[in-house]
Amino acid sequence: MSAQPGNYRYIGTRRRTKEDPRFVTGRGHYVADIALPGMKHVALVTSPHASARIKAIRTDKALALPGVHYALTGEELCANVDPLYVGVDAPKVARYPLARGVVRYAGEWVVAVVADSRALAEDAAERIEIDYEPTDYILDPEKAILPGAVLVHPDHGSNVLYRRTFTWGPVEADFAKAQHKLAFRARWGRSATVPIETFGIAAQWDPGTGLLDVWASIQMPKYPDQLARALRLPGNAVRVHFDVDVGGSYGVKRGIKHTVLVGYLAKKLGMPVRFIEDRLENMRGGDMHGPDRIFDMQVAFDTDGTIHSLKIRALDDVGAYAGRSPLQLGKPVGAIVGPYRITSVEYEPISVLTNKTAQEAVRGFGQSPTNYALETAIDRVARHLGMDRVELRRKNFITRDQFPYLIPSGSTYDSGDYHTVLDKALRAADFPALVAERDAARKAGRLAGVGIATCLEPSGGNSAFEPLFNPKNETTTWMDSCLVRVDISGAVTGVMNTSTSGQGHETLVATVLGEILERDPDTIRVVHADSLNALPSNSPVGSRMAIMLGGAAAGAAKKVKAALMAIAAHNLGVAQESLEYRDGSISAKGDAKKSLSWDQLVEIAHRKFHKLPPGLEPGLQAKFVWEVPTGGGLPTADGRIQMYPCYSFEAHLVLVEIDPATAQPKIRRYLCGHDCGTMINPDIVHGMTYGGIAHGIGAALYEKFAFSDNGQLASQTFMDYLMPSALEVPGIDIVDHCTPSPLTEFGQKGSGEAGYLGAPAAIASAINDALAPLGASIDELPMTPLAIWTQLQGGKTQ
């Protein structure tokens, strides 16, 4: 099978993107570039305490400064807006943009100041006086679930936001009959994607029309709806502009609390108001921290390497409030056995509140931590049995002929060829040479390790974790849509209905429309509708846009094409079956003289009603709304559900060396075999995969939101929150493979989370392989030089 099957003209070919030219010349249009006439600026006063009662707030000194317009407290805001939407059923864990009466983490927003400039707003913020009475706090998630623990939200009665034990298949029987069992703990440290652009929002209220216009750096499903509800406005009183370029998101640009705050201020003050988080606000109170998990893993397997069953307990420290975050324990249900034939699983997700910054969605929505735990389990089984890690994986992989493959938790994997992708990767990396290089380094007295990870990227974003984790939520519709318009000049415009944060959606839509309509994608324009003009969308989450927006664009283009065929058939007097569509022109098969050009067809559609077939609408446009393939069902009573439609696969191979004198790791070689079905634009897919790997390198080795013993976020700046630069990320090789998905138009699967879903596991595997000759291992990310050194000293981490 080739890297790219299918006979496509534009799809899968290397083509420049539509977006790049504006960005390379500095003509991107980000939220911070928006300057509305008379716009005011917000700065925040945040809590210095992890937990405290607010006894008094005095704003008079701040308001006395010239150019300062308002100081908003939680008392006022909370009385006038509704709580933000919470993903699980926990009504007593109310979350508002500003604290009311109580602060629950250091960095929580307490007062918002509005002034003529951001600098003045900061001057004023310094003059706000707040009396706090510090109260007890809880930081350790394991202690937080014990009886008698300090409660982050006393009204909720517990620090547990969500907890359930799922049993899928004969877990106890499998464990009883297995020849071996092992148990271990693996910990995923709190990190996030930390885009270089912080979250920003500008809002303007027009009392004449009763319309709130919003420009935001947003990647968030149902954002306009959530915003309108919290502000107690009808949905059609909010207009979100999706044509704002978003400077990176990868899940975290949710910003509901920011928007409710700024929307309220804009409406209340009757002035355009803008809030662009500064980096400190972003790091401590932007509520964009990612999963922070302790996995307690048990594996049951036989001497020949057959893995039968898993018990997974995942304790996730979500911080002080619930947003979408508890649901990040839900997505992994859809790929809970990874690429392996494991017949039964017990899964106990526990979502725990602590006095820390709240968690939000991060690239992969909880899948990458789970993959890290799964792959660590595979490596441990191999080590336990003295078996080759590659062989063990090959032995347990689902085979090509077993698809579609139903896993114990109720999801069916669409397609895959894991053996071939791994083999291609091993060949491309010259795996024996890689191992020889490792061994030579070891012989020379250095520490070196080879890492392997073979992981899945569930894609297509159907958000079925919502009904799974919240029985009151019966949402089963996760559509996306596209409108295609051929104007009177014959030019094609695609309308998409959400914002973009670097994924190249304009290129995606243009390529798909061009492919089906056989028009040059470079001539096709793609625009982002605002929320009042938009068709329904669920935004680019869950690696869904190639599948969902791509599918919607294809569907709309096909409708346009069908209209053209109908016009041609009517005017040429030839049955549609006897017509041939080529490059937008339509002619009778075998009779080139009977032909209508694109321009002629368009002209008929727009101007010549008398030539239109009866019943066809004049003009030439079509919309298509597509539901997630396989979407639509509610979970079974035991929590089985089809989570995502398509499953991409990645096989990572890494060579890492550790300097024994300094404990510094260095990645010597990185290769990733990748199968996301048909690639619409290979450069975009490769770019996201490289970026995902770099992000994974950060999570594995460098990045951590570390809290001190008194609940202070100690890594608030880029001096302490360490994202890898070009000097830490090595050159990366990607080997493509294509197993098309049977569920999508072109066989495409998702790739927006590619690389990140396997890189942390692969690097952890390599580090632990390097430490193995010493009998040491690390089961916590990030694997910092300090953690490695501690192992080299024969100690335990922590």
Binding site: P48, H49, A50, A106, G107, E126, P134, L280, M283, R284, S708, D709, N710, Q712, L713, A714, S715, Q716, T717, M719, D720
Partner: protein
């Protein structure tokens, strides 16, 4: 950020005299780095104004000091709390005064402090070095006071 401070300092002054010095608001005002006011509130509690100018970091703090567990002239515990625009500080330290020959006293201290706010979030790397330095400056000032007021 939690800071741990521990150490000992020999001072050329008798135990009883040192006890007096350490409980004298005027002496504390002169010896605590950056301290510009100390006002007794009674019950061994004081209100203190601090203007810190350590290196490039400057900030004004208002705080309170309380002395507890007094065992004159050998032991007491000092609790300090302060709040300013760049954060807060809260800590306590136990002091033990041990006579050491004639007219010399060994002062042992062991304490910890919590720091919060901007300083804690951005300055974790240097806080403990700066704190040690401040303790050193306090002792230098105390030694000077002792030398100047025999």
């Amino acid at each position: 950020m939690a800071l741990e401070l521990k150490g000992e300092q020999a001072l050329k002054v008798g135990q009883q005299a040192l006890w007096k010095l350490l409980n004298d608001p005027d002496v504390l005002a002169k010896t605590i780095p950056g301290c510009n006011t100390v006002r007794a509130l009674g019950d061994d509690r004081y209100e203190m104004g601090l203007k810190l100018q350590v290196a490039n970091v400057s900030g004004e703090y208002m705080g309170s000091v309380a002395i507890t567990e007094k065992q004159e002239p050998a032991h007491y515990v000092l609790a300090v709390e302060g709040q300013g625009s760049i954060g807060f500080m809260k800590g306590s330290a136990a002091f033990d005064l041990e006579p050491k020959g004639d007219n010399e006293t060994l002062l042992r201290y062991a304490g910890s402090a919590e720091v919060g706010g901007v300083v804690a979030g951005v300055g974790q790397r240097v806080l403990s070095g700066v704190a040690k330095y401040m303790v050193g400056r306090f002792f230098k000032a105390l030694e000077k006071h002792i030398a100047d007021n025999p």
